[in-house]
Structures are given as C-alpha cells and as structure tokens.
Amino acid sequence: MDKAKKFIVSHAPFWHNGNSVNERYYHIMIAALPAVLLGIKQYGIPAVGVVALSVSSAILWELAMNYLTHRPITIADGNAALIGLLFAMAVPATMPWWAVLTGTFICVVIGKHIFGGIGSNAFNPVVLAVAMVMVSWKDLFDFDGALLNYDLDMVMAYPLAAVKHFGVGAIESFSTADLLLGRQSGGIGATFGLGLILGGIYLIIRGFIRWEISVSFLLGVFLTAWIFNLAAPDRFAGPTFHLLTGYTLIGAFFLATEDSSSPVNFIPMLIYGAAGGVLTVLIRNIGAHVDGVVYAILTINLVNPLLDKIRPKAVGKVV
C-alpha cells in the first residue's frame, strides 16, 4: 500500500450535471447569430465593423476591469462577448465608432462591473447602455436618418416611427411576411423576426432562458396592442405589427431574460414579462418615445427584486 497517495477530498455532491456558465452564454450567442447574419447581409461591411468593434471592445473593457479590480480574468466566460453582440444587434449599422466604444463601456463598466460584476447587475447592461446612448445622442438611434444612404429592396422607413408620426395608414406597405423575414429597417440584429423567434425557441428548449418571461412578455405586447387597436384602429397598429417591429423580439428573448436582472420564481416571472410587454406598448402608443422596449425592460428590471419576493413558502417554514 502506497501511504503517500493523495486523494481529492471535497464536499458532496460528487456529481454535477454539466451545466456551465460558459455553455449558457455561448449558446445564447449562437442563437443570436441568424439575426446578426441577416443584418450583416443587408447592411454589409459597416455592420460587420459595428459588430466586430462592439464585441471586441466589450471584451477589452471586461479585461480592463478585471485588471483594475484585481479579479480573475473572466473574458472566457462569454458574458462580455454576449453583451457586445447584443449591443451591436440593437444599433444601426452606421453607428460611429466612438458611440460603439461608449456604448460597450456603459454596458460592461457601468452596467455590469460597477454593480458588482456578473450576477449582481440590477439592470440588463445592454439595455442600460442603449438607453443612455439613446438619450445622449438622439440622432444615432433615429433609424430613418441613420440608414438614409441605404436603399435596399424594401420599404426603408422605420416602421415604429412611421406609425407613430403618420398613423396606421403609413404601415400598410409592411406585410407580416416582410417583417418576419427582416425586410424592415432597424438595428443590425433586431429586424429578422423569424431568426430571433427560432433562436429564442432554441434557447427555451435548451433551458438557457426562462420561457415564462419570453412568453408573458410577448403576450403582454400582443394583448395590449390588440386592445389599443380595437379602441382606435386608425391610430394604433395591430398586435402582430407590434410583435414583429422594433426591439420586441430581441427584447422578449434576449434582453428581458437576462439572468441577473430578472426573477426566478414562476409567478414573478409571469408578472415581470407581462408588465414589460404592457409597458412597451403603452410607451409606443401613448408615450413620447418611438420604441418602448428599452424603457419597459429598465422598469421591470427595477421592480424585479420586489417581484421575486412572491415565492412559494419553504417546506417546514415556521412563520
């Protein structure tokens, strides 16, 4: 018997089902790829530039924060890359380089690390950054202006802006099929409805996002838009239009479902998602902004800790 043999001693359980953080973020990026690829096909090299700069700068900001805070290097977990990718998906292909850098700085440094890093961010970093850039440089997110020089084989008006300013008559030229297939202007990765839906379904099946949030978010959008549409069909667009335009789909599947800023219990997830959907349409239809998803998600992020207090009573709890 070899007395010197050393064994690993650790605490139970001795099995693990193989879940990992890296797997999660890499799969979310894979699910987002179809939408990004269509955006790149439509907008060409400028879109490649924005996506590449956004992903790489997000990773570099993360690295810088790792060094600054003397923490282990975490760029390999895919979270920073995912943040960069999602930010690029939300912005127009003509976003100037300094705005992309600022955006990813807000995402990674302000949105994520200042709150305490991964798992501690109160707001979805991407949504926070989009909102801050949006209010700081309004014109950058005016898709009609930003994509002025593009003349693709489709209606180049930003659908949400069209319906906001000119009423339902202005959006008759958008068919549901066009919206699903990405034949609308908007963010690089936010317009390809079908791709986003397929990516979302993949993530739901694999358990990387929580279906309750996505489904209730979409239901919230659908029902609210439907009610508005019933009340005044000439002023407010129908529910399908609201589901397939702007940031609705990317919001429902990729932004509202961000782990740290969303609830984990069943009923809170439903309330959280539905509230996001309702707020989105309220802001779009009667608010000042063209698209409401960003502010709706920030608002539900804010109430998340409160919502998550609604939880089943632990077995054996003595009150």
């Binding site: 043999k5 359980p13 001795f14 089902n17 099946i205 694999r206 969303s262």
Partner: protein, 427 residues
C-alpha cells in the same frame, strides 16, 4: 454521472437505483490483517479505560475506550489491540481510533449471549447500537420526546446504492424477527416498513405496515418520507424524532433480529461498492476493514487525485485516506477517477434559477447563497429558510456557476450550531 438532457427546460428526473439480478452476487471480503475502529468521542489518555494496547479481544466483545462515556464499539474480529489514538473527523467530530491485529483463530465473546435472554431496551443499548446499519436506540424511552412511530426504510437514501434493498429481499426472516424485537424493546406499536417503488408484494406477513416510497430522488430522504408518505411536515430546524418518528435502516433491524436469534452480535457490513465506471457490486466485509482492503480484493486500483467516497454520489463524504475503516453506517463506497471529478468554483451566482426549480422544499437558494457566501448566516436562517434544507445536494448538482451550495449550507448550519451552543454554555 447523470448529464443534463438536451431539453433543458424540463426538470430533470433522477431516480434511485433499483435492485436487479445483476446485483445479487455478493463478494465476501476476506478478513484483513488488521482493522481500525472509530469510537465516538475524543481519546483522553488520562481517563480510566478498560482497554489497553496489547489486550486481546474476541469477536463480538464490547470495547469501551473510556469508562466515563457510553460510547463503545463491538470488536468485529479476534485479535490484539495495537494502538489507541485520537482521530479528527469532519465538522469538528472527534473519535477514538482503536487498531486491532487480527489473529487466525476466531473466538466468540459470550457476554451478549448470556445477556440476550432478556429482550429489553437496556440490553440492546448496552450491546447493539453499533450494529451494521446503526441502531439509533438513544431516541427510545426519552420522556421529553416520546417516539410513537418507527419507520424502517428498505431502500437507500442515495443514488446507485442497493444495500438495504438487498437486505429486504434476502433476509426477510431476520427482518421479521427484528421488527418483533424492536416492538418489544421500544414499546412502539406503529411500525412502518417503507419500500421503494416496485416491489410491494409479499410483505404482508412482515409485522409492519408496508408503504411505498417513490423512486425519484430525493423521495427517500427522511424528511421527504415524512412529508409524502406519512403526510407530516417536519418544521424547519427540527428532526423527525421531535415529532415522534424514528428512522431505522432495514439492515439494522435485520441485524437486530439475527443478534437475538443467534445470541451473537453481527459484525459484517453489507455495502454497495461503486467502481470508477459506475458499476455496482454488493460486498460484505467486517466492520473496521480498511477500505483499501476492499478495493484490493475487488481489483479496483486507486491513483493519485482520485476520490474515495463513503456513501453515495449526492450526500456521501469523501475521505483522505484509504486506511479509513468501514463504519457501521457505511452503506456504500464509491471511487471516482480524477478525470471524472467535477470541480467547484468561486464564480458568483448568476441568478439563473436552476436551483430554485429543482429544490424539493422551495428554498430561495439564489438569495440564500448570496448571504452564505458573505457569511451572514443568521440572516440566511431568519429570512431565507436555511433550516428548511433537507440536504439532498440537488442545488449544487445543477448549479452552472458550480458554487458548492450544499457545502455552504452545511457549513452555515454547523457554524450557527456552534454559536448557539456557545451562547447556551455561557448564558
């Protein structure tokens, strides 16, 4: 190892191993050259002792290292005591380690044989608490917390283990006798035999009410049996014994029956040995056998950085030495190759909610773990249901950040326990 399914949104269903024909061959482990026994309580050389180095002991002889404490071991072999020393276990437990060199001629001690003519609780307490499977006799005859129900569990409370199922299947007569004796010595009439899923038939004559326990993990956890089979919920921080329900393994009951029937204390322990590729083998070895001897007999080779686990994959305890002995309550031995050991990390909780969905008692683990990591144990207990935990290990099993949640929970309970007992001691 059970991997996550492709369909990650479905809650994983993990089942206990059921006894099948391939498990029915038992390997008898030959007697080792020397054995080690661990007796509860630290060894104080100054205390008066009935046991000295150099003493010869007989099989079945009661060995009490200290006259001042009740703790004892039953010598599983005949031989000579070679050393008595102190041994530190985990979670602050201390033992007195007694090593015995085994001699070729086996002689049986007759103290119990003369005592067992009376079937009484004091006799059983005096000789039988260290039976294979461990008999928790200290709960009986407690006037503050009277026991009114005994649950004999005929399955095992971890995955891959089939030890008690085998006992139920093969030693029905001993079990029946044991149940009768248990009833006599404890004065408890309500005895329930809980059996995992499939084999419910054929136990009508056993002398206990037979109940079925689901085979989905963690249904065999005593707290879950209380909740689902008996319909009684144990309040957080209490034990089933506080409600008058005592759990005993089928192996201990069968050993009790056989002890009184034959006038000899059983000293062989049945165990499920799980090899590196997950194959199960039932073995029978004397209590105190160094586990390396069992691995040698079975041809299991251990290399550096492997892991040896006493118990099953979810709730067992790993040991650092292959000289560690088989204990009366060791129901399984498991070896993990170093390539197969999942690592734990200090990565933060990302709030994904996997643990929330799998926790059988609805603890808000995502919040709990944040408090435990920061060492705020009291808040964790007051606000986030620390004491509801039934210690099944599922949260750590699914955590993508690989946080050792279960370890944090055990540590928190241990630390709080220390604080509380210190407060009691100092007023």
């Amino acid at each position: 190892m059970i991997r996550k399914s492709f369909f990650g949104f479905v809650k994983p269903r993990i089942e206990y191993a059921l006894l099948s024909d391939q498990h029915l061959n038992i390997v008898e482990i030959p007697d080792p050259k020397s054995i080690n026994l661990l007796v509860d309580g630290p060894f104080n050389p100054g205390e008066a002792t009935l046991l000295k180095e150099g003493d010869t002991v007989k099989t079945g002889q009661k060995l009490a290292p200290s006259t001042e404490k009740d703790a004892y071991a039953i010598s599983p072999v005949t031989g000579t005591v070679t050393s008595i020393s102190s041994y530190a276990g985990d979670f602050g437990k201390f033992y007195t380690a007694v090593s015995i060199d085994v001699s070729d001629q086996e002689e049986f001690d007759d103290q119990f044989e003369t005592a067992c003519v009376e079937t009484t609780l004091p006799v059983a307490r005096n000789y039988l608490t260290q039976l294979p499977g461990k008999l928790p006799l200290n709960f009986f005859n407690d006037s503050e917390k009277p026991i009114n129900t005994i649950v004999i569990y005929g399955g095992d409370n971890d995955l891959l283990v089939t030890t008690n199922q085998y006992i139920v299947k093969s030693r029905t007569d001993d079990l029946k006798h044991g149940i009768r004796i248990l009833n006599q010595i404890s004065d408890v009439d309500h005895i329930i035999m809980a059996i995992p899923g499939e084999f419910l038939q054929g136990y009508g004559h056993i002398g206990a009410e037979v109940k079925n326990v689901p085979i989905e993990y963690p249904a065999a956890n005593p707290f879950m049996i209380m909740k689902d089979t008996l319909g009684r919920i144990v309040p957080a921080g209490r034990q089933s014994e506080d409600l008058g329900v005592c759990f005993i393994t089928a192996e201990a009951v069968a050993a009790l029956g056989s002890a009184f029937q034959n006038g000899q204390i059983p000293v062989s322990k049945l165990m499920t040995v799980v090899g590196k590729n997950g194959d199960q083998q039932l073995v029978s070895a004397r209590i105190g056998t160094p586990i390396s001897h069992i691995f040698d007999t079975l041809g299991i080779t251990l290399s550096e950085k492997d892991r040896i686990i006493l118990g099953g994959p979810m709730t067992g305890a790993s040991v650092w030495s292959e000289d560690y002995p088989v204990m009366p309550d060791t129901s399984a031995l498991m070896v993990q190759d170093k390539e197969m050991i999942p690592y734990v990390s200090d990565y933060p909780c990302i709030n994904c909610g996997e643990c929330i969905r799998i926790c059988p008692v609805y603890i808000p683990i995502n919040m709990l773990v944040r408090f435990l990591e920061a060492g705020h144990y009291e808040e964790a207990a007051d606000q986030y249901d620390l004491y509801s935990c039934i210690e099944c290990g599922l949260c750590s099993f699914v955590c993508p950040s690989k946080i050792p949640i279960f370890q944090f929970i055990r540590l928190a309970k241990y630390e709080l326990g220390r604080v509380n007992s210190a407060e009691e001691a100092h007023g």
